[in-house]
């Protein structure tokens, strides 16, 4: 799967599609967003997940387990019934307010939406949609002592067998992306299932088909005709999120372009507003790439994108730009 971060508008339709499809408001799943969108720079969801570590990149004995309210956030409720007067209403309550009060509970998923960094006019942010990476070397699978986690031969989807799971939560610790959740009602762990019932019917994941920005491509890694394959292997413009975690994620990201910064005197510089340094620390090809190689790749990708855009802007055609525009769902869902 490939996400184009240049097309993500942060609307959370994917997250809501996933939520209503799979976890909804079920007790024990309220805090779970199998698909979530976070703003970068930001602490992410669960809170500060990048600093918690996983099975292959941390001391296994010291990986923390988050708490629901502090780590994943309160399941906010809003006073819709009052404000929308669906049940009588109350004119003394004129606006929507969340409960619990944010002042009393300073974290929830997407807490730092649009906060970003930098000072005007060089402030910046971008959105990062995240699902389970259905890794080639799943740390959750490695961490489970009961073989409750398995990777399907036919399509590589990583699943947790609810009948094998005993709720030990080693998988939660094991996943460095913190994309395995614990259901305290069912007392088992749960995660993104890559909409496997839909994939089996050659339909796309619900997060992808509902995406307003049409930012995702789904295809098999060995299908050279798929656009996902072309973006990753032919055009080489899609990167893994934190490949240094050593799990070989199978979700790839096209890094975000950004306008150039202004200098102190108001002239345009050659530096993009989203610092290459920040992107290189997030994205790369493989776990053994060093920082300098990742910086080089980032610049290379931006050059490829700019060159192809220039071609089209001057009246030419570009296979890459055609793929990125993806006029039809069949251009994106190729499973």
């Amino acid at each position: 799967m490939v996400f184009d971060l240049n097309k993500c508008i942060g609307c959370h339709t994917c997250a809501m599609a996933c939520k209503t499809m799979w976890t909804d408001r079920d007790a024990g799943q309220m805090h779970m967003y199998w698909m979530n969108v976070e703003t970068r720079p930001g602490t992410g969801y669960p809170n500060d997940w990048e600093n918690q570590g996983g099975w292959f990149n941390a001391d296994r004995n010291t990986i923390p387990l988050p708490n629901i309210y502090q780590g994943y956030g309160a399941p906010w409720e809003y006073n819709y019934k009052e404000v929308l007067k669906t049940e009588g209403g109350d004119t003394s309550v004129p606006q929507l307010v969340p409960s619990p009060k944010p002042s009393e509970h300073p974290y929830a998923s997407n807490w730092d939406e649009d906060v970003g960094k930098g000072t005007f006019p060089n402030s910046y942010h971008f959105y990062l949609p995240r699902i389970c990476n259905h890794c080639t070397d799943p740390a959750c699978l490695e961490a489970c002592p009961r073989q409750a986690v398995y990777k399907r031969n036919e399509d590589g989807i990583v699943l947790i067998d609810p009948k094998r799971c005993r709720g030990y939560r080693y998988c939660v610790k094991g996943c460095p992306y913190k994309k395995v959740y614990y259901n305290p009602e069912a007392k088992i762990s749960q995660k993104c299932i890559f909409c496997y019932p839909r994939i089996e019917e050659h339909k796309g994941n619900f997060c992808a088909t509902q995406c307003a920005g049409r930012i995702s491509w789904i295809g098999y890694a060995d299908d050279a005709n798929s656009n996902a394959y072309k973006l990753i292997n032919k055009w080489k413009i899609a990167l893994r999120l934190h490949p240094e975690y050593k799990t070989e994620p199978n979700v790839f990201y096209i890094p975000p372009l950004s306008p150039p910064t202004y200098s102190f005197t108001g002239t345009v510089t050659n530096s993009p507003r989203i610092p290459i340094d920040m992107l290189a620390k997030m994205f790369g090809d493989t776990h053994d790439q060093n920082y300098d190689q990742r910086v080089t790749r980032m610049k290379q990708i931006f050059d490829i994108l700019q060159n192809e855009r220039n071609k089209v802007a001057s009246g030419g055609s570009s296979e890459l730009i055609d793929i990125l525009i993806s006029r039809s769902e069949t251009d994106r869902i190729q499973v």
């Binding site: 387990l65 708490n67 629901i68 780590g71 961490a143 002592p145 709720g167 007392k187």
Partner: protein, 219 residues
Amino acid sequence: MPVHDISGSSRAITAGYISGPITLDPLDPAWTQTPETVVTLSRRIHETGAKMVAAGNENRRIKVKVVHNGTDIFFSHQWDESTPNVMVNDYSLFADALAMEIPLITETSSIWMGAMDKPVNIIYWRADLASPENIVGGGIGTTQISSDEKSQNIRHYQNWSNGVWNVIITRPMVAASQNQVSFVRGVTYRLALANWKGGNDAERGGNKIISDWQYLSIK
């Protein structure tokens, strides 16, 4: 099954016989007539790199009494726990637990959850569960709650007070299905205990302390 010579063994547990009904109550008079065995738990295992019970916290003692009336068998366990852990309703919470393991179809088996050709029957109590679970294991990582409803016939009493857990587990002596051991008078069974302190470094799964095999004689 042969009767082991366990004379003089410190690992002998005797299940005494009492005629008439026995209640699931620590004050039932049957317990005053039943000898107590102190089982030492001191073995740790290391499982897929997961944390072991911290050294220094591995020596535990469980006071065991077993009594039966020819129909039902009752196991009483008492052990020290300064702070009970009874909830698993958040990521960081793990509950206190106790398990007893008995070879299912053979006289002996691997103490590490049995083996594929020598499965074990496990009764697993955890403080947050509605009732203890009947489990079958064929080696580390293979344990499974037995799927037939008949074998999930284990009842229990649990109470924590003054720093002591008291857990009484009872079951009909005759196996409800092939997933249970039948307890037969005159027979001696191997039995091992496991203990988890949920509040101690999130003990669960293989992160636990177990005893050596004990010898349970049904009088």
